[in-house]
Symmetry: C2
Subunit: 239 residues, 2 copies
Amino acid sequence: MTLQHDPRQNHLLAALSRDEYQCLAPHLEWAELKLGDSLVESGKVMHHVYFPTDSIVSLLCVMEDGDSTEIAVVGAEGIVGISLFMGGETTPSRAIVQSAGSAYRLRGQLLKDEFDRSSTLQHLLLRYTQALITQMAQTAVCNRHHSLDQQLCRWLLLSLDRLPTNELVMTQELIANMLGVRREGVTESAGKLQRAGLISYHRGHIRILDRPGLEARVCECYAVVKKEYDRLLSYHRPG
Amino acid sequence: MTLQHDPRQNHLLAALSRDEYQCLAPHLEWAELKLGDSLVESGKVMHHVYFPTDSIVSLLCVMEDGDSTEIAVVGAEGIVGISLFMGGETTPSRAIVQSAGSAYRLRGQLLKDEFDRSSTLQHLLLRYTQALITQMAQTAVCNRHHSLDQQLCRWLLLSLDRLPTNELVMTQELIANMLGVRREGVTESAGKLQRAGLISYHRGHIRILDRPGLEARVCECYAVVKKEYDRLLSYHRPG
DNA sequence: CATACTGTGTACGCTAGCGCACGGAAGCGA
DNA sequence: TCGCTTCCGTGCGCTAGCGTACACAGTATG
């Protein structure tokens, strides 16, 4: 196992004790996630959970007419497939790779067994789930009350927090799908940010130039979510 | 304990086995919930969880400027205070009584102990939490894509499902707070429903006259949520 | 080098919902 | 009975975002 591909780049796996990690490690399977890959389909039984390391996965709620909205985003701090240990087996939402990279996956049954056996793992995952719930709630209120400009800033910052670089590979069309708005709306808002010197983008590549500038424009929702993630997931890395 | 006030009117308590229920029963404390009571305040440590019997509680996300949005609603099918067993202790959202009635409350520590001890209770609560997550996700997408008319229908139906009667005590002002819209907007949408003969209302009392009519107007979000609740919470009542 | 496609810019009319302001009617309390 | 508050109706101008249409520049493909 190279350093480049270390499962413990995922914060949840990193938070496990040596013993607990050794239990799971042999079953962790490296997976390359490509942009647009679907990890979870609405109503389909999942066979694996995914622990992203340097990839980002979006949880989307898709409606009959194809309109969609991102309800949460998962990076190295989290896990994709919570319904496996929550007991529902399936969910009505989808999980799409938003930023290509790596993840480690684990057969659902193995995770469930360990979830029931180890109260440490259980508490860890439940705290993470609560953070996810906060993100979803804040997304709902943000959708309702804030301008597209602010939501775009929030989205960029949430993505940035989950990336090793300050460049994200993402077309305006895709961002529009995530935010549940028109592509033209994203063009306009992104144009404002570019003219303000906060970002620069070119054909699917967005570079963040002035992060503090984005933070000055974003609505409170970003801070609320970040604070709650920090509060709930600030465990120490054991050996 | 009279039949009128039976804790097992709450579906979660009703789903427990006789033994498990007997464990908790001595500690269940009857509570009268009045319209507008706050059960959970943002960031405050909660000392109790609440099992509504014939009351309805709204989970709200409130922002700095006072604007709010309901992210989920809890009735006899659920429990208020999931962050106690999820491990976070607090949440950034509020829980407000939306329809007066009864609930049974339990000290948080007792629930936590039992949650860790009994895997049945644990699975029950986690499945419920997953249903709640679905409701929140669907609320987010509904906020984004559907008209106020449709959202009002969804809200009425979700409330109706949790009420023994077809009349709800609720001003348009309060509904506006829940949906995160203007009061005037609710007046207009409710007026349409009234003119169509689906509901009738008068100074804070709304009576539903034609439920199928509402179901014909509501967006798909209502059905998605209801189906998921049925799927996840359709346990048999043990003795 | 021609062609097609993908990603972005722009414009224009349209509508839902907002903010505000006001009026009126029902109920409640002194 | 009077006065006050709560609740609902209505109107008006405004704006953000929608739907649509089209232009154009990179990029890939033949």
